[in-house]
């Protein structure tokens, strides 16, 4: 397995995330696909760190931090989603149409 494979994998993961994001209408589903995208980035870091990078610790470190940060972000996101649910009694993004021109 080469760097290229990993990058392609990451890219595919990213693409899947994007696809899910567009395609899903359920908020939690969208959050999950967003996670996919973030982790694609992580894979990039790791693989660069493993194969090429002169300063390989940085990559690994970076990915760890990313995981942490993403966790907080998800926490907030879920909180908001919950409050959403309280208002709309559903998690369908199609309902988010009150704010528009």
């Amino acid at each position: 397995m080469t760097l290229m494979n990993c990058l392609i994998l990451a890219f595919l993961l990213f693409g899947i995330g994007v696809w899910g994001l567009i395609h899903r209408r359920h908020l939690v589903g969208m959050l999950i696909s967003m996670e996919l995208m973030l982790n694609a980035a992580n894979i990039n870091f790791i693989s660069f760190a493993y194969f090429t990078a002169s300063d390989s610790t940085a990559g690994a470190l970076f990915s760890i931090f990313v995981i942490a940060v993403t966790a907080c972000e998800m926490a907030i996101a879920l909180a908001i989603v919950v409050s959403m649910y309280r208002r709309y009694k559903s998690l369908d993004v199609e309902q988010l149409r009150d704010l528009h021109d």
């Binding site: 567009i22 209408r25 993004v93 199609e94 988010l96 149409r97 009150d98 704010l99 528009h100 021109d101």
Partner: protein, 648 residues
């Protein structure tokens, strides 16, 4: 010499002073005071003009008495205000100041009790001031300056009774028509001064055309030699005079100007306004003489107007209109006399002298005629011959003076008109312009006819209005005095001044190129007088003889078509109205307005609309749909990848 200078200043300052003082202060306070002030000032002006004239004809004066710089365009290309003296201008100065003096006196009676008597005197003085400035002009620019002032003061005076719509429209017409001519005048000035790099009369009068043959000048539509440009300039300048002296077809404003107070008409017709055109041509005579066939044009314009006006005058019933058309025809005389001075390339001087001489004599008798008409109107309260008749008994002095002036205008010796008119006809003959010569003779007959028609219908016969019959009519001293005074020059100025003119108004004295002189033709006067007498008899038979049918003569309803056409002045007013209304106002102006309102504003509106459409496009994208928003993120990456022209 300083003495003369200060005196000559007086001539101009006095009327100006009157204008300022009366216009600003005295006018509203007391009409009497204004009148008195105006008369004194004009009297002083006349006196000093006379003094200057005597000085000039006895000891002589420098060509330019004084000159004040006005506007400098470049080194040795400046416009000055000054006083140019030669016989011509001196003669005009005297005439103008004298007439102004008379008219001012007359106005005391005529305007008595008018709302704005003070304003009237102020404007009258402004009028004479502008004319004096025009006469004294040393260069084209100064002439144009005062030319315009004459125009505006005539506008103010003709529209003096501004609550009378007819007066207002008449004044407007007068101003705009002359202004129209002036625009060409201005163009002529710009063109000529551009070629010659000077406004100065001496420079302009002493050019030789051949010198300008080689250089060319771009007139936009075509490129011509400077010589041709000068000829064009000459014609343009003449156009200014054309309009000012109300030559056909720009004549219509003059009869309509009758709406103004009669003193105004008299001063316009005799001295101040209409002769300006003739004066312009006379002043630039050598220039016109060298400029190709400019003189031909002038001659024909003059000749045609002469006949045209005379014919119309024969049918009118408004006495002021009759006089107006007579003025037109007399101006025609002067014009064509100036124009007739050319035989091939040579130039004769007779016509020039004659024309100036006629300006001189005409001023007196025409002024007095108008004043007479004025006092008639003042007594009878109408301009219409229908309501007159039998005034001989009531107004004896006026009657005599009228007779004198009418004889003068008809060219019966020894009255003043005879000499000048005779000279003019002679000029036409000497210039080998036999057609014009014939027309001139004919017109002199017509003149006699319509003047005596007026005379008989007004003074002889039985009274045709009860006010006259009832005998409310009397003579007003203030009005009769100037009439009486004016009768004297009307009678004598011919004999008196003939010598003067023949001695001084000759090339040597005028700084104009030497002109050829031709022998007199001694039989002409007799012919002219014969025709005049004949016309007089016809008039007598028709209007004054015991078996004349007055009401038939005054009837204008059941007449032949030709008579009607003439009576309605060949429907020229209507034509003008049609042109202005339909072509200018509803044509060009409307198109311009539409271009503005629809094309320009339309484009602006379209631009705004376009932006708004784009705006609403952006806003429709803001649908609130989260999926769409997320889509934009992805799309964003892709488009920036491709149009962000990153090098990969």
């Amino acid at each position: 010499m300083t003495n003369e200078i200060s005196i000559s200043y007086l001539i101009f300052l006095m009327p100006l002073l009157t204008f300022v003082v009366n216009g600003l202060f005295l006018g509203r306070k007391s009409a009497k005071g204004a009148a008195a002030f105006a008369i004194t000032c004009n009297g002083i002006a006349f006196a000093s003009a006379l003094y200057l004239a005597i000085k000039f004809f006895t000891v002589g004066l420098p060509p330019i008495v004084f000159q004040i710089p006005f506007l400098k365009f470049a080194e040795n290309f400046a416009a000055n205000i000054g006083l140019l003296v030669d016989p011509l201008s001196i003669m005009m100065l005297v005439v103008v100041t004298f007439i102004a003096f008379m008219v001012n006196i007359y106005s005391v009676g005529y305007m008595r009790g008018d709302r704005a008597e003070g304003r009237f005197f102020a404007l009258l003085s402004l009028f004479s001031f502008s004319m004096l400035g025009l006469v004294a002009a040393t260069n084209l620019f100064q002439m144009f300056v005062f030319w315009e002032l004459v125009g505006v003061s005539s506008y103010l005076l003709i529209g003096f009774w501004y609550h009378k719509p007819s007066a207002v429209s008449a004044s407007k017409q007068a101003f705009i028509l002359t202004r129209f001519a002036d625009s060409f005048f201005l163009f002529g000035i710009v063109l000529v001064s551009y070629v010659l790099q000077s406004f100065d009369f001496f420079a302009i009068n002493s050019i030789t055309l051949s010198y300008f043959k080689e250089h060319t000048i771009n007139l936009g539509i075509m490129t011509v030699t400077q010589a041709d440009a000068l000829i064009l300039g000459a014609v343009m300048i003449f156009t200014g005079g054309w309009g000012k002296s109300a030559m056909f077809p720009m004549h219509i404003w003059l009869p309509n100007a009758m709406e103004g107070p009669t003193p105004v008409s008299s001063i316009i017709h005799s001295a101040t306004m209409v002769v300006a055109g003739v004066y312009l041509v006379a002043r630039l005579f050598p220039f016109f003489a060298v400029c190709g066939n400019a003189l031909e044009l002038i001659m024909w314009v003059g000749a045609f107007t002469m006949v045209f006006a005379a014919v119309i005058a024969c049918t009118q019933k408004d006495i002021k209109r009759i006089l107006a058309y007579s003025t037109l025809s007399q101006l025609g005389y002067m014009m064509f006399a100036l124009g007739a001075c050319k035989i091939g390339s040579a130039v004769i001087t007779t016509g020039w002298t004659a024309s100036t001489f006629h300006i001189f004599t005409h001023a007196f008798f025409k002024c007095s005629l108008f004043l007479i008409a004025g006092s008639l109107i003042h007594q009878v309260h109408t301009n219409d011959l229908d309501a007159m008749g039998g005034l001989r008994k009531k107004m004896p002095v006026t009657y005599i003076c009228a007779l004198i002036s009418i004889l003068a205008i008809s060219g019966i010796p020894p009255f003043s008109g005879f000499f000048s008119k005779d000279e003019i006809i002679l000029a036409a003959f000497q210039g080998h312009h036999y057609v014009v010569f014939g027309l001139a003779l004919l017109t002199s007959g017509l003149t006699t006819f319509y003047m005596f028609r007026l005379f008989f219908l007004a003074f002889h016969g039985k009274p045709r209005s009860e006010s006259v019959a009832a005998g409310h009519v009397h003579e007003d001293f203030a009005m009769t005095l100037p009439i009486a005074i004016l009768a004297v020059p009307a009678l004598l100025s011919g004999i008196a001044a003939k010598g003067l003119f023949e001695h001084f108004f000759v090339p040597g004295k005028l700084r104009v190129p030497q002109l050829v002189l031709l022998p007199e033709a001694h039989w002409i006067p007799f012919v002219a007088v014969a025709i005049a007498v004949l016309a007089l008899l016809i008039a007598w038979v028709l209007y004054a003889s015991p078996k004349a049918k007055i009401e038939r003569a005054l009837d204008d309803v059941n007449r032949g078509g030709i008579y009607k056409t003439i009576y309605h002045k060949f429907y020229f007013d209507e034509m003008y109205y049609c042109v202005v209304r339909q072509f200018i106002f509803n044509g060009v102006a409307k198109i311009a307005r539409n271009i503005q309102d629809y094309v320009i504003e339309g484009l602006v509106a379209a631009a705004v609309k376009f932006v708004h459409i784009l705006g609403s496009l952006v806003r429709t994208a803001q649908s609130g749909n989260l999926t769409f928003y997320l889509g934009t993120l992805i799309v964003g990456i892709i488009i920036w990848r491709f149009i962000g022209n990153l090098p990969f």
